[in-house]
Symmetry: C2
Subunit: 384 residues, 2 copies
């Protein structure tokens, strides 16, 4: 497919993040190719230029990257050695392998953040239950145990209250290259996410800091901006995210998930791609996270991250017992003409993220009620 002089961006992974990148790519007239494992994956349904293959198959990655001006990601799971292979063949990979490794390995991330002075929960690499007990003597119980690699959406994370529980967790087999990480559990009053976009030439923009609500380790709701967050604290969160982006040489979108204990901010996780905590920006910001990710990896000037309404509320649609999401439309769209619905074209499985809804306005409680109603109706939790 000829792009008429415009560059082509390749996204590794065919999930909903790649899918939602299609709209700004088409608007900007930028070529978009996706590497999907199957032709019916979420993004592959709506993008013309699909390369079929696995993200951990170097030959598939090279075929996909041939003809792309820059390669970026829908997820963090491409093996670093493959990314280095792409780079060594002159393919622009953004974020680059050394930056992305911080989002692939939590121990590497903790060490780097500690080195640059970013506040984190206390942490330690552990190999045996006795070391967990030693760590708890300092940081207190409960202790959070994480595998350094391969976890997402709450997988690979356990909260243990005792040495005996740590024994059980440490018996779980580790993925190749993974280690155990013990972390202090922060007694937080809220969880925040600070997103920034950064381009190779160093321009960066910071989105409004949002409040995220998790259920079972999965992001379920986002309020943008975080209600009641003091301006100084919001700026502090943005500064942390901008510092991480600069010092770790991140290109593209960076999401920094943080705990707020009412006094201080502690970095929890990093994601170097568009992130669930930024879906509100499609309708709620002048430039969405998906557009700014494309602009950033292409080293184009970034768009304004400004909010366009006092509040945006996003609620994830989790799969329930109803396999046919479309049948909910007649009810939810008639009930709420201002509701914005995004379905991902994914087969419904209980608890799986299959879409989200966004509402904009000035009454947070009212927006939450609208968003939750729609998400619950799609999930079949309510029927009116």
């Amino acid at each position: 497919m000829d792009t008429g002089g415009a560059p082509r961006v390749g996204i590794v992974g065919g999930g909903q993040l790649a899918r939602m990148s299609a709209a700004p790519a088409a608007a900007l007239g930028i070529g978009l190719r996706v590497l999907a494992a199957a032709p019916d994956e979420s993004a592959a349904q709506v993008i013309r230029d699909v390369s079929i293959g696995r993200h951990d198959d170097l030959a598939a990655l090279l075929r996909f990257a041939d003809g792309c001006d820059v390669v970026t990601f829908d997820h963090e799971h491409v093996p670093p050695i493959h990314l280095e292979q792409l780079e060594s063949r002159g393919i622009a990979v953004r974020p680059g392998p050394s930056a992305l490794f911080h989002a692939q390995d939590k121990i590497h991330m903790r060490q780097a953040l500690t080195d640059i002075g970013v506040p984190c929960p206390r942490w330690r690499v552990v190999t045996a239950p006795g070391e967990v007990a030693d760590f708890a003597d300092e940081a207190g119980w409960p202790v959070v145990l994480k595998t350094s690699r391969g976890g997402y959406d709450g997988r690979g994370v356990w909260v243990v209250e005792s040495v005996q529980q740590a024994v059980d967790v440490l018996a779980v087999p580790l993925a190749p290259g993974a280690q155990w990480l013990a972390e202090e559990r922060i007694d937080f009053v809220q969880e925040l996410s600070a997103q920034v976009a950064r381009s190779p030439h160093g321009q960066a923009v910071a989105y409004p800091v949002v409040r995220t609500l998790q259920a079972d380790g999965i992001c379920s709701e986002v309020i943008a901006p975080a209600p009641g967050l003091a301006s100084a604290r919001a700026v502090a969160a943005q500064e942390i995210a901008l510092r991480i982006a600069r010092d770790l040489n991140v290109t593209g979108m960076l999401a920094v998930e943080m705990f707020d204990d009412g006094y201080d901010l502690f970095v929890n996780e990093l994601a170097m791609r568009p992130h669930n905590s930024g879906h509100w920006s499609i309708e709620g910001a002048r430039t969405s996270q998906f557009e700014n990710h494309l602009r950033a990896v292409l080293d184009l000037p970034l768009g304004a991250p400004t909010a366009v309404a006092p509040y945006a509320v996003m609620v994830n649609i989790l799969g329930g017992d109803v396999g046919d999401l479309y049948s909910a439309y007649r009810h939810v769209l008639a009930r709420d003409p201002g509701l914005k619905v995004h379905l991902y074209g994914k087969a419904v499985r209980p608890g799986r993220k299959v879409g989200h809804v966004t509402v904009l306005g000035d009454d947070v409680e009212g927006l939450l009620a609208r968003g939750r109603h729609a998400a619950d109706y799609f999930a079949g939790v309510i029927d009116e």
Copy 2:
């Protein structure tokens, strides 16, 4: 491509209107197929499910429509007899052939609007210069001469000042089935466009009435809402559009272009599809014209057409001497981080609509200056 229980909408025509329908279709999880004349047409570049064929080839239309739940349009050029063939085979065509014929034949449109009492410029079917002179005796010179079929973007329209000029125009060969239409030229103070969406079950919503600015018969700028338009007059324009949609049984988007002479409104043209005068709604309204067109033709509840900013200004990017539009990005995006750019993936030819820009805010003059600057820079008219 399986749509997971969602319906599939087929759009006849691979232009920018179909292209801009891809984003809301993906968001709503609705299947989208386009009938394009070539695989590199504007919409075909960004839609997965492309059927190649001509809109006036019945066999191609039938192949394309097979598997679509509803067929709609990017343009008005499908022969009515073909549309009736589709309907007779049980394919839902929206708008239906009898409604769409009003947008295909200007004499049919003028007669229907006159019959339902909608104000139009004075008009008469003419076959010879003497009849133009008779019409001018009543309506005055100049007279607007139009071919009843096949014109768009200023083509098929002439303004004549005398019988001798009418002789020259009437010597132009007519397309099959076309006739000559003489119309009074309205001495307007502004041109307006009123857009509505209407669904088969009769729900309708009206967008804010916009002011359109034309250059050489081509829409060049849109201001939403029309600045200074009295509320009563805006409501009158919306009522005219709603009445036309209802009485002509239009489904989908309807654009009613009007002349405002400072006292009265006169309907100029109808378009039964998303329209250039509604591109501002992508960022400027809660529900874009492209989303509401899909919702309407699927008989889903319609979305709120509410504006999300005091003003939106859209400026078309017309092709200039610069073939590579992408090279303008570094300048225009850096200069204006709030600018929204839509390029259509079309080869640049002088005067051709190849994209548009939209800006939102409260200062109309400032918005116009920003939009014009960007469009001029893309066109190569200015270089700083």
